[in-house]
């Protein structure tokens, strides 16, 4: 029996195990939405903006490891998800985005709501396809899911013209893909792995540097085993957080621009760097010519283009992180040298790292008048007992969260790393909460980022998704303001946000509980009340607008040359009230 393209679409999704679709309807996808609403097996989360749908799908995918699915209309529907696609592409998030397209006979005619969806999305997708014939639809969907979730995951866009969704064809879901140009490598080269094992055994100052790849390939256990049998400390990139327990004695926390002192020092002085599913991003390396100058480099990554892209690798290993780590652990365990010997060999290194940790721990000065953002994160971490899924936005609050919220499990840290998309956090938190209705999902955000996608509050309200929004409201684009203070002589160009909505009233308008904290003493009670509340809640916490995030490696600076506190000239300027005056003279209205 022949069925319509729209029915083929829904059936194909069912075969792929899709239970949730994030999207928004429009002219050319009406047929698909019409079929969708008559089925009970696929839940459509109706977002209020397509960008929200894309980030929700990302949050869903990051938290579950399954592909997030987006369904939007042509033209503006598609262009609105571009940021989400680019974000997913940078952070290797498996996403399958279905976009409507005008009928095939109208393509190229500048028809109403027409855009070149495939052309626009080409540089920000792993793969994309315009389906011209309904007979190809099921095969294309099968391949889209396969490509999105295999190898280095990424977003795939499938563009479905209106007449393809209404045309009829026989439906048979294909049982295999037919992609002769796409064969992701899984296992690593045995000789390379053996060489890596030998390097590991003799290294005196090794560091394991882990990126998002370890999270995506579910390699946390194997990573932990590697670290423990070799007694090598582990540092994580922003994307890698959660792949190794933050409180483990071998954990060095996050590295890079705002990484801890000991972490960046350990990287700089290491003699062996074992990079695991990481890509030597500029926010990690700082000045490349001075990055890890003494280190031999073992680089394990499923994406060959990540290897030797920005930094050399002495022993490149292309393969799935989990598989390669397993292979490596087997060899390491069979090698001579018992754990006690390994520990003895690395003892001076461990001692040195400990010393760095003790001399320069992560720190901030507590204040009894203004709330320090770090304090809020610390309290939140303490109260949620490490069990929360945390979605963040982008900026200072994200870095504070990365530093102070010591995640313990993979897929509990959802953040926009590569693209740095403000507005990502809240929809991502909704996506995660849709996937796990009974888990605690926190959205750590700020007034700047939150206002970029706050329209999705209504989704949390109507679906009673108990997301806890912890909004660190300092009235400024904090990271921009920090850079202006440090590198632009304190000229606050467009970083003071001026008129601010009353977030508690805003929450109320959406039927969501809102709470506010203005003083340090109010933080804990407000957090407690918010966390204990059954439904969604927005906590408007007014924090110090002048708090800077340290340590900091200035852009292009060398890894070991960190700024650890405000430079003296900045402190002087503050003391003289120059900064306060600039704020007062400008449009900027700081929170009380």
């Amino acid at each position: 029996m022949k069925v319509t393209g729209a029915e083929i679409f829904c059936e194909s999704l069912k075969h792929e195990g899709v239970k949730t679709v994030f999207g928004l309807p429009g002219g050319v996808v009406l047929k698909i939405f019409d079929v969708l609403c008559q089925r009970k097996d696929i839940d459509l989360v109706l977002t209020r903006h397509e960008q929200g749908a894309a980030h929700m799908a990302e949050g869903y995918a990051k938290a579950t490891g399954k592909a997030g699915v987006v369904l939007v209309t042509s033209g503006p529907g598609m262009t609105n998800i571009v940021t989400g696609l680019a974000d997913a592409y940078m952070d290797s998030v498996p996403l399958v985005a279905f976009t409507g397209q005008v009928s095939t006979d109208l393509i190229g005619n500048d028809a109403f709501q027409e855009a070149d969806n495939v052309g626009i999305s080409r540089p920000c997708t792993k793969h994309n396809v315009l389906v011209k014939d309904v007979n190809d639809l099921a095969q294309t969907i099968k391949e889209a899911f396969y490509i999105a979730t295999s190898g280095r995951p990424g977003p795939v866009l499938v563009d479905i013209p209106k007449d393809v969704s209404t045309a009829k064809a026989e439906f048979k879901y294909p049982d295999k893909v037919n992609l002769r140009g796409y064969n992701p490598v899984v296992g690593g080269n045995k000789n390379q792995i053996k060489q890596a094992a030998e390097e590991i055994m003799k290294a005196k100052k090794p560091v394991i540097y882990v990126g998002g790849g370890a999270v995506f390939s579910d390699a946390a256990d194997d990573l932990r085993e590697l670290a423990e049998i070799t007694q090598i400390p582990v540092t994580m990139t922003l994307m890698g957080l959660g792949s190794f327990p933050g409180l483990h004695p071998l954990s060095l926390g996050m590295l890079g621009m705002h990484g801890a002192y000991c972490t960046n020092m350990a990287m700089h002085y290491s003699d062996l760097l074992i990079a695991v599913g990481a890509r030597f991003d500029d926010r990690v390396t700082g000045k490349l010519s001075e990055f890890c100058p003494e280190a031999r480099v073992v680089h394990i990554d499923i994406d060959p283009t990540s290897i030797k892209k920005t930094f050399h690798a002495h022993i490149p290993i292309v393969g799935d992180v989990k598989t390669v780590l397993r292979q490596l652990n087997v060899i390491l365990r069979s090698m001579d040298g018992n754990p006690a010997q390994v520990k003895a060999l690395r003892a001076p290194w461990a001692k040195q790292i400990k010393e760095w940790q003790q001399t320069h721990p992560l720190s901030y000065k507590q204040d009894d008048k203004t709330i320090k953002p770090q304090y809020v994160i610390e309290k939140l971490y303490e109260l949620t007992k490490h069990e929360a899924i945390v979605a963040t936005d982008v900026g200072q609050h994200q870095m504070f969260a990365a530093q102070y919220f010591k995640g313990s499990k993979p897929r509990t840290w959802l953040t926009s790393g590569g693209l740095g998309t403000m507005g990502f956090g809240f929809p991502a938190a909704i996506g995660a909460q849709v996937a796990y209705p009974n888990r605690l999902v926190l959205c750590i955000t700020s007034e700047g980022s939150f206002q970029m996608n706050l329209q999705e509050l209504v989704v949390a309200a109507e679906r009673k998704l108990p997301v806890k929004i912890v909004l660190l409201n300092n009235g400024v684009h904090g990271m921009v303001r920090q850079w202006q203070d440090l590198f632009y002589e304190g000229r606050y160009s467009a970083s003071l946000l001026g008129k601010m909505p009353d977030f508690v009233k805003l929450a109320d308008a959406y039927g969501i509980k809102g709470l506010r904290a203005l003083k340090p003493s109010e933080v804990e009670p407000v957090l407690r009340e918010g966390l204990n509340h059954k439904g969604p809640v927005l906590l408007d916490i007014h924090t110090d607008p002048f708090e800077n995030c340290y340590p900091m490696i200035p852009a292009g600076g060398a890894q070991h040359e960190m700024m650890l506190e405000d430079p003296p000239e900045l402190r002087l300027a503050r003391k003289g009230g120059a900064h306060k005056r600039k704020v007062d003279e400008g449009e900027g209205v700081l929170p009380a």
Binding site: G119, R122, K126, N128, G181, D303, P304, T305, I307, K308
Partner: protein
Amino acid sequence: MEHIISILVENKFGVLARVAGLFSARGYNIESLSVAPTLDPTTSMITIVTVGDDRIIEQIMKQLNKVVEVLKVVDLTETQFLDRETALIKVHTKPEHRDEAIRLADIFRAKIVDSSASTYTIEITGDVEKVEAMIRMLQPLGIKELIRTGRIAISRETTHTASPRREPALLKS
């Protein structure tokens, strides 16, 4: 250094855009580009001439391999290969220049494929040095219009590495 890269791709809509977009998005150069179907109508061969140091070429090769519709990537510069380019050159032919144009075409084993009262159109095929030498020689006559195909290349069979018919010696400058 210059590299000639052969890229075997699925003969599908949008593939060339993806390959070309990859070069532009990452700031790599395309010196020349040629595309045509192969014996198998489901595939096409793209030949790209590009310039870059070893690190850039390695990235280009890897990035190309990553494209789903790319089936095979070969850097011919790493092997023994033959490359050819065709140019159509329309030269002004004042009466006193006609003999010279015919002579040059003859020396370069080129063909005059069209003529008018005031022009000859010369077709030349050869490696890039030969084509460029021909262009240089014709310039004094006055080139009205010039079109080049871009280079195509093929690897030599390893069993015999000498070309059966050598290019005219004078052109191997």
